[in-house]
Structure formats: C-alpha cells, structure tokens
C-alpha cells in the first residue's frame, strides 16, 4: 500500500492518537514529556499536511488522496476522506496554528498539562477530520468530536467565569448541530428513496441528489434541510445575532484555546456553508442570500462598533472576529468566484491575524494579569519587540496593503460589488471602523505616557513567544505580497463548489 492511500488518515488520526496515548499511558506529572509529545505530534501533523500539499494537484477540482472504507454498510455510512483545494487551505492553516498553540501554552499552562495537551490534540483530529471527511455522517462525528475537548479547554483551564462560558458554548453549538444531524439523516433517507434504493451518506452521492423544493418554508424540504445545516454553521461562524457565545468563550478560554477557537473553529462554520450549503441546496441558497447578506453586513458594522466600545482587550478582539467573519459571509453569499476566493483567503487571514492577536493578548495577560485597556499605556517604550509584533497583527487585521488582510478584503468586496453593490458600500465602512477600534487599542496600550508603575518593568517577548509569533507574522507578509499559492490551489475547487 502506498503512502498516498493512507496519508489523509495519518494526517487526521496522528494528533488524536497521540492525545489518547498520553491520556492512557503517560504519568500524571511528567509535564515536559506531555509538552514535547504535544509539540512533536503537532509538528508531525504539520509535516503530513505539507506532504499532502506537495501531492495535491491544484488543477483537479475533485477530491484527491481519497480513502474510502465501509463502516456501517447496512446504513450506507462509510469512512471517507478526501481533500480538495478548499479543505487543503484550511488544513494547512490548522496544522500551522497547532504548534503555535502548543508554544503559546508551554509555560502558561502548568496545571493538568496532560489533559490540556491531550484535549488540544484530540481537538485537532476533530478539526482536520471535519475538513477532510467526505461522508456526511463522518463529518458529523468529527464535528461533534471537536465539542468535547473545547468544552474542557474552556471549562478547566479558563478564567473566572469559565463554567458559564463553557456551558454556553456547548449549548449553542449542540442546539445547531443536533438539528444538522436530522438534516443529514434526511439526506441519507432521500438517497434511499431515490433510484439505487440504498442508504448513502457519501458527499458525492448526496451532491448528485436533487432535493425537492416546494412552496413556503415548512413545505419546502430543500429549504428546511438548508435551514438546519445553515443554523449549525451560522452558530459556529458566528453569524449575527447568534454570536453572543463567542465573546464569553474567548474571554474565558486560555490563550491557546482562543487561538484555535478564532483561528480554526469559526472557519468550520464558513467552510460548512461553502462545502455543504452551497452545492447541496442551490435554490435554497439563492432564496436565503438576501437574509445572509443582510446579517453579514450587520455583523460587520455592529461587530466593529461593539468592538470599539470594549474595555477588555480580549473581548475587543473577540468582537472584531464577529466583524471579520461578516466579511467572509458576505463573500460567500455574494457568490462570484472572486468573492468566494476572497472569502476563503480571508478565512486564512483571519486565522493568522486574529490568532496572533489572541496570542499577543495572552502574552501581556501573563505578565500583568489584566486585559483592561486602561491598565496599559506607553508599552512601546518597555516592550519594543512586542509592540512591533502587535502592530503587524493590527495592520494585518485592518487590511493594510502588503499584508494578508488586504488581499482577502479586497477580493471579497471587489467580487461582491458585482452582485451586492449596496451591501459592499455599507460593508466598506467596516474598513474605516476597523481602523478606528484597532488603532485606539494601539494608542491606548502602546503609546501615550507610561503612567502605571506596574508596566515599567515589563519584560519584552521571550524567545518562546517570538518563535510562536514568527510563523504567523511571516505568513502574513507572504500572503500579502504573494497570495497566488493559496489562491491557485483553491480556484478549481471553488469553481466546482459554486458551479462558476
């Protein structure tokens, strides 16, 4: 058997297996063993992801490196993995962020290290699996697999109100995903009712079905099925007004949890819209476009304004996520190839910029145990490296040309202007507002006189923190200056998904 036959399985299962082995076998207090094992597993996964990239043919829109094994054949459930351009981009993002997360938690998590590392690794398996699964049921399994580790990460290693935040996160997510399970089962039954008469949940089988439409909402199976999928994804994104779990989860989650939450978990929502909602329910998608474009625009503007009102740095970044994810939703629903390419690129960009913002907020929180803007000021004098890193992340986040954020926002807005000009005009104000709230942060944290004595002796970034930020910073410049590698691997797949 060649390696390509099992490459994706190896990619998906490596972190989770290491995580389980750690849980079962490793002694409780061998902290550095846990850390190194986690780091190593993340790096191996990254290597496997890069290997998958090297074997990937960007011109081919179909799933590649496919694996298919029957699982519950009587119900048509199978273990199927495959990668297309869209999934590959997000897999690479996930694999890149995971070592960063491990580094960011190296010393910061000192309690129950084993559980933390294992949770992170199992979470990674869930995320990678959800991106790579090409069987709807398997997708659902991986989707729910992500929930538990994240629940523990927030609930065990989180801040003061961690239990509230963790429960809120789980209830929101479950409310959506259980309905999605009903939708998945419906699609499977529809396959049974159609020509071959067998159950199947394979993505390509389902995609061939034409799902009946109908009058109104309750008598329109396609719209109903779309709605249950969309609800699950919309909560994950999160689409305004389903976003209120996000600030709480971010504020309470430990730094590593926030990075993964913002960097990858939210992308599963937008990925779901692109991979499942759009190709499976084209008419329903069409019908829902005005609604989602409106919500996206509201998210952009309201998210930015609410971010501006925040006093807690982490909450501010969390609300900025709501605004940025609004851009992605706009790009997806505007529906042109350009805007969808922009949306996918922006998923990566948001992972990089917001991920690094959370990383950097964590750095300052470790030192000062506060995140309130008013407790800082003048940090540029004492922490020049940190200031530089934060400034790069900020500029990336507000879409300065030369950095990654600009390319994504540009493609989204430019592509969307064809079909949704009014929405683009309103959304573009989000670019102004983004500069307002992020530069306010820079001004109040790094500039102004150094008034708090406690800030005077702050240490600049350690080598460990620099190493954690460096890959993200480099990726920001790289995508900003030369985004073609990302754009070209995804173009064929996106054309297939949106039928463009």
């Amino acid at each position: 058997m060649t390696l390509s036959g099992t490459l994706l399985s190896a990619l998906v299962l490596t972190p989770g297996t290491v995580g389980l082995l750690l849980l079962l076998l490793a002694p409780r207090d061998a902290k550095s063993l846990h850390r190194w094992a986690g780091m190593l597993a993340s790096l191996v996964t990254l290597g496997l992801a890069l290997l998958a990239w090297s074997r990937f043919d960007p011109a081919d829109p179909a799933f590649q490196l496919v694996e298919a094994r029957p699982w519950l054949p009587s119900l048509g459930i199978s273990y199927r993995l495959g990668v297309d351009g869209v999934a590959l981009v997000l897999v690479l993002l996930t694999a890149l962020l995971q070592p960063v997360v491990m580094l960011s938690s190296w010393k910061q998590i000192d309690d129950k290290v084993k559980g933390y590392v294992a949770s992170m690794l199992i979470l990674e398996t869930g995320m990678l699996g959800a991106f790579l699964a090409t069987d709807l049921f398997l997708f659902y399994v991986f989707w729910e697999l992500m929930l538990l580790p994240m629940y523990f990460i927030i609930g065990v290693w989180g801040g003061e109100r961690r239990v509230y935040a963790a429960v809120k996160f789980v209830i929101f997510t479950l409310a959506g995903s259980l309905l999605m399970l009903v939708g998945i089962l419906y699609l499977g039954s529809l396959h049974k009712a159609s020509a071959p008469g067998t159950w199947s949940f394979a993505y390509e089988d389902i995609a061939r079905l034409s799902i009946p439409g109908g009058e109104g909402f309750w008598h329109n199976p396609q719209l109903l099925a779309f709605a249950v999928f969309a609800l699950a994804f919309a909560i994950k994104v999160p689409v305004w007004p389903l976003h209120t779990w996000l600030p709480d989860a971010h504020v309470e989650a430990p730094t590593g949890g926030s990075i993964i939450l913002a960097g990858v978990l939210l992308k599963l929502g937008t990925f779901g819209f692109l991979r499942y909602c759009r190709p499976l329910f084209p008419e329903a998608w069409e019908a829902a476009t005005p609604l989602f474009v409106t919500l996206a625009v509201i998210a952009i503007v309201v998210g930015a304004l609410v971010a501006y009102a925040q006093k807690d740095l982490k909450k501010l970044v969390a609300y900025s996520s709501v605004s940025h994810m609004g851009f992605i939703m706009l790009g997806l629903f505007a529906g042109t190839v350009t805007s969808t390419q922009g949306a996918l690129l922006q998923m990566v960009n948001h992972g990089l910029s917001t991920g690094s913002l959370f990383l950097l907020v964590g750095v300052i929180y470790d030192r000062r145990h506060t995140r309130l803007l008013e407790d800082f000021g003048g940090l540029a004098r004492v922490m020049p490296l940190y200031t530089g890193a934060f400034l790069i992340a900020t500029l990336s986040s507000i879409g300065l040309p030369g950095l990654n954020g600009f390319v994504g926002e540009l493609l989204i807005l430019l592509g969307s202007f064809r079909t949704q000009p009014v929405a683009v005009v309103i959304a573009a104000t989000g670019i102004v507002l983004g500069a307002v709230y992020m530069l306010t942060v820079v001004q109040r944290v790094f500039w102004n006189p150094l008034v708090h004595e406690a800030n005077r002796g702050l240490a600049d970034l350690t080598w460990q923190e620099v190493t954690a930020f460096a890959p993200l910073g480099l990726a920001m410049f790289w995508i900003g200056v030369y985004p073609m590698p990302v754009l070209s691997i995804s173009e064929a797949a996106i054309r297939r998904l949106i039928g463009g």
Binding site: G378, P384, L400, A435, L439, T440, N448, P483, M484
Partner: protein
C-alpha cells in the same frame, strides 16, 4: 537603464528593513549612512532612469514584476509605469526626499540611537511607499502606495508616541484618511465592475472603446476617487487631520505633509484625468471643493501663532489651489503647482524646523522675533520660499499659481461646460486667497525674523544657526524655489511652456473652446495677482513690523472678539465633528453593546434558558416520589397508548 526602475523602490525598502532589524545595535553614524545612503542610491538610479527616459517623448514604459492577485476574472500585477507624469513626480520625490533625509541627520541628532534608527526606517519606508504610489501602473498598486504612505505618516506623526497628543494626532490622520480610502476603494470596485480592469492603460482603453459606458460611469468613479483625494490631500471637509499632523518631527512635516504625500490626491486626479475629463460634474465638484478650501484654510492661517500650524494651513490652502486648477481641466497646471510647491514648501518647513531647533523646541511665534540676526541662512532661504509662496514674479510659485488662476479664469470666461459663472466666482476666491496667503506668510516672517527676540534671555543665549547638514538642504531648496518655475512659463504661449508640453500626452487637460485671452487681458490678470500679493505683504508689514508691531491686529481682535475667536479656533470644526460624529458614534457603540448585544440578544437567549428552567421547576412536582402515583401514570400511559392504537 529603464529596466532598473524597480531599484528605485528597492533601495528605500531595503534600507527600512535593515534599519528596523538593526535598530537596537546601530549607532547614529550607521543609521544615517544606511538611511541617507538608501535614499541617495534611489535618487541616483532615478536620475539615471530619467536621463535615459528623457529622449522618449512621452512614451509610456511599463515594468511588470509579477502577477500579484488573480481570482476569478480579476487579475492584477505588480507593475510600474513611467510616463511624463510619473517622471515629474519621481524626480522631485527622490530629490526632495533625499535632501530631507540629509537634513534629518542634523535635526534628529539628539534622539537616542534606537529612536534615530526607527525614524530613518519609517522615513525610508515612506520613500518606498510614495514611489510605489507614484509609479503604480494600476489603481491597486497605486492604492498600495497610498495606504503605505498613510501608514508611515501615522507612524511618523506619532513618532513621539509618549506624548498623548502626538499619538492621538497619528490616529486621527489614519482614520480620516481611511474615510477617503473608503471612496477610493469603491471607485476601484466600480471601475472593475464597469470595465473589467483596474489597470490605468487598460481602463483608459476600455473607456475609449465604449463611450456610452464611459459616460455613464465617469461621474461616479471620478467623484469616488475624489473622496480619496480629499482625504489624502486634506481638503474640505476632511482637512482636519493635517494641522494636527504637525505633531510629528518637522522634517516629516516637510516631506510628508507638504512636499509629497499630501499632493498624492492631486497626482491621483491627474493620473486618472481621462476619467475626470469625461465628467463636467466631477470637474466642477473638484474645482469648488478646491476653491473653497483654498480660501477657508487661508483665513484660518491668519490667526495661528504656531509657526508650523501657519504652514500647515498654508499647505491645505495651496492644495486647494491645485484642485481648483485640476477642476478647471488644467491638470498640468495643477501638477506644475505640486512641483513648485514641493520645493518652496519643503524649504519653508525645513526653515521652520531650523528655527524651532534654534529656539529649543519652541513653536510659538509670539516667543520668537529678530532671528534674522542669529540665523542668516535660515532667514534668507525662508524669505525666498515665502516670496515664492506669495506669488512674487520670478519665484517659482508665481508661475504655477498664476497658471492655475489663468486657467480658472479662462474656464469662467469661456463658460466651460456651462458652469462659467461658478468658475468666475472661484477665480475671485483664488485671487482673494492669494492676498491672504501673502499676508499670513509675511506675518510669519515678520513675527519670526524681525523685531526683537521675545523668548527670554535664557533662550536668546542659545540661539544659533543650524549645522551644515541642515542649512545646505535649505539653500538647495531655496535655489529650487527660484529656478523650477521657469520650466513652465505659460505667458508666451504653449510653445514655451516646457512643463505643459512634456505632460500633455498623459494629462491633456480640458480645452476651453471658443475663448482666448488677449495679451492685454493676460497682462492685466498677472498684474492683478501680483498686485494683491504685494498688497498682502504691505498690509502684513503695516501690522507686524516696526515699533508698534501687533498693535493693530490686537485692536481688531478686541473690536470683533467673536469673529477673532471663531477664526483663531479654526471655526470650531474639530469641536463640531466631535459633537456631530465622534461622540454620537461612541454613544451608539456603547448602546449597541450594552443595549442590543447584552440586553436584547443575550436577553432573548438567556430567557430561553430561563423558561427551560422554570418549566423544569414546575414539572418536577410531577415527581411525587410516591411509587403508586408512578404506577398509576404508567397504567394511564398504557391505556392511552392502547386506546390510540385501537381507535
């Protein structure tokens, strides 16, 4: 040589990277060598490129580096374009930029090494961004430079970041510019939607190929582009950031906020003149905004006491002139004024920097005076540049400003696009502005250099001429303020106007048809504008020179206290914006958070959870704990199920 064009940009970029990387280790000497060296090499390459370009008669040379973005049907390359327009800009940006780098090594010498390196890194980065803006072959590369200079401007205004007003001024500059960028971006989107390209040449060709679409889209695209120009070039109503930007080091004000970046808006209008030429409405808007700004800013300049603020409002006002010229269809005249303005305004700012340097950081002209005895070179160069700005013949500003006024008058007299009356009014405003300009500039000269020193004996003791690295750039720029005007003399007809002939192929201008000024009228117009300038100078002399200097203005201020306070407080525009936009936005943001997000949305969701809890609270009473009750329920359930099945 032409294919080395990219090197012009590469040197400053490399300089910036090296300086940022080595900021903590470099000494002053190393930093200065790297920073000035990078710009110097860039200047040399630029001169070489321009020399080999000189023989090409307006040809457009494009250098494509690589494909930057391609997605769907959108594709854009990193490409640079050398044509007469960008050649002019390339020349003075590298030339003035180099001089200001040299000057900065003296001006910033007291900064600690790290800050010194940071300063030159930003300055080099600015040069890179500005050259990208100038040379960009498509709207997107231009926009990259556009945002890049905005970033550097932000960083340099906030260079003394520990002073909260500097930090605030930097943020204000960036945010106000972003409002303009909002328009610029929408213009790009619209151009792409309508014509499928953002490349300058491609856009021009597409508009020529489809006149109907061009006519339909020209006005919105031109107006949106102008929104961007208004932000970057500090025109009404977005000019408010520029006076505050004076918080940055003075060489920065000279380079970014006088000579180069703020003129980017004018450059952009000239660059896209093929769009503006199709839209009478857009031209009129440009002219009106420019004319109003020219006079409005000049009146504020009358009552400022901070020497840099006077120059800042003067810059806003002069930029207004440039837009007024562009709005009259005279794009070359506008660029000509950009060109001459770069020399004399940079000279003025650097001169003010020299003064501030001598006065130990003091910027208030009421605490200066008599400085001509202490700093001769600074005084003479400042005077020459002031004469140029005031529009006195043989000095550069005279030729360019007069060219603009002549073109606006022609647009008025020739009834351009049927808006003749508006253009005539604008011409009147322009002449009035020329009077105000001469007045406030000589007010500054008299207050600073004449009379006796008012800053106290301690400070007087420290007065000194600046070192050679600062004085020589002043001398060169002053010389430039005299000579550069001669390349564009319009009086003897187009044949002698080398500048216009050079630029004509790329920015042809809108011809006013059916009207031509006779020689007598032209002489009359020139006499008028020189006359008002001289009148302004004489009035300033009467007010601010001699034993009772300042007495008349003081009397006027007491006679009309309201008027005086309104002007001195800049018409309370900042306060107005604060009350009308900033604070409502803050309130809205707070309300959206605490009201909408926390109470309404989370309230609904929390109340769902609450109802679940209530329901549980009520239903738990069903659990009596009495086994026989449960049995009864089971029986009831079984009977009900049986009944359901049977009936």
């Amino acid at each position: 040589m032409l294919n080395l064009l990219w090197l012009v940009l590469a040197f400053p970029l490399a300089g910036a990277v090296v300086l940022l990387a080595g900021a903590r280790r470099f000494t002053h000497r190393t930093t200065a060598a790297v920073g000035v060296g990078a710009t110097g090499l860039s200047l040399l390459v630029a001169l070489g490129v321009l020399a080999s370009y000189a023989g090409r008669h307006g040809e457009v040379v494009t250098q494509t580096l690589y494909r930057w973005i391609a997605a769907g049907d959108f594709s854009v390359e990193v490409a640079f374009r050398l044509d007469p327009l960008s050649a002019v800009m390339l020349f003075f940006v590298t030339f003035v930029g180099f001089l200001i780098h040299v000057y900065s090594t003296g001006y910033m010498h007291d900064e600690p090494p790290t800050a010194f390196a940071r300063y030159f890194a930003y300055l080099n980065l600015f040069m890179f961004a500005m050259l990208t803006l100038v040379l960009g072959a498509n709207l997107l590369v231009l926009f990259v430079g556009w945002e890049g200079v905005g970033l550097c401007s932000y960083l340099l205004i906030g260079f003394y970041f520990e002073k909260d007003w500097c930090a605030a001024a930097g943020k204000k500059a960036f945010v106000v510019n972003r409002i303009g960028d909002f328009g610029f971006l929408l213009a790009i989107f619209m151009a792409f939607k309508a014509f499928g390209t953002v490349d300058m040449a491609g856009l021009q060709a597409a508009m020529a190929a489809d006149p109907a679409a061009a006519a339909r889209w020209a006005t919105p695209i031109a107006l949106l582009l102008f929104v961007g120009a208004v932000g970057k070039s500090a025109q009404l109503p977005l000019y408010v950031w520029l006076p505050d930007a004076m918080a940055g080091p003075t060489p920065v004000s000279a380079l970014i906020h006088a000579a180069t970046m703020v003129t980017a808006g004018v450059y952009m209008v000239a660059r896209t003149s093929f769009v503006y030429a199709l839209s009478p409405t857009a031209l009129l808007v440009v002219a009106v905004v420019g004319g109003l700004t020219a006079v409005f800013a000049a009146t504020i300049g009358l009552a400022q006491n901070d020497i840099k603020k006077v120059l800042a409002y003067s810059t806003v006002s002069q930029l207004g002139y440039m837009f007024m010229g562009a709005g009259a269809g005279a794009f070359t005249a506008a660029i000509f004024h950009v060109f001459t303005h770069a020399f004399f305004k940079a000279c003025l700012f650097l001169g003010s920097g020299s003064v501030i340097h001598a006065c130990g950081g003091e910027q208030d002209m009421r605490k200066m005076g008599g400085l001509r005895h202490h700093m001769k070179a600074t005084y003479w160069t400042f005077l020459v540049a002031t004469l140029a700005l005031a529009g006195i013949p043989v000095f550069a500003g005279f030729f360019s400003k007069d060219e603009i006024l002549a073109k606006v008058f022609a647009a008025g007299a020739g009834n351009l696009h049927g808006y003749g009356k508006v253009y005539l009014v604008l011409w009147g405003l322009g002449v009035a502005g020329a009077f105000l300009t001469a007045f406030y500039m000589f007010r500054a000269v008299y207050m600073t250099f004449f009379g006796s020193f008012r800053g106290g004996p301690e400070a007087e003791h420290h007065l000194h001429e600046s070192p050679g690295v600062m004085v020589w750039p002043l001398r060169i720029l002053a010389a430039g303020s005299v000579v550069v005007g001669f390349v564009g003399i319009g009086f003897f007809g187009p044949r002698f106007n080398l500048f216009e002939r050079f630029l004509h192929p790329v920015a042809p201008g809108v011809e006013v048809e059916g009207w031509h000024a006779g020689p007598a009228l032209e002489v009359g117009l020139i006499a008028l504008s020189v006359g008002v300038a001289v009148a302004g100078i004489l009035l300033a002399r009467r007010f601010y020179f001699g034993p009772d200097a300042g007495a008349i203005p003081a009397r006027l201020a007491t006679a009309w206290p309201r008027l005086y306070r309104t002007v001195a407080n800049k018409y309370w525009v900042d306060e107005g914006y604060d009350a009308a936009i900033v604070r409502p936005t803050n309130r809205l943001a707070w309300w959206l958070w605490k009201g909408l997000d926390t109470v309404v949305i989370d309230g609904v969701l929390v109340s769902l959870a609450f109802f679940t809890e209530i329901a549980g609270d009520l239903l738990r009473f069903v659990q009596t704990g009495n086994v026989r009750n449960y049995a009864l329920m089971v029986l009831g359930g079984a009977v009900a199920a049986a009944a359901w099945l049977l009936l």
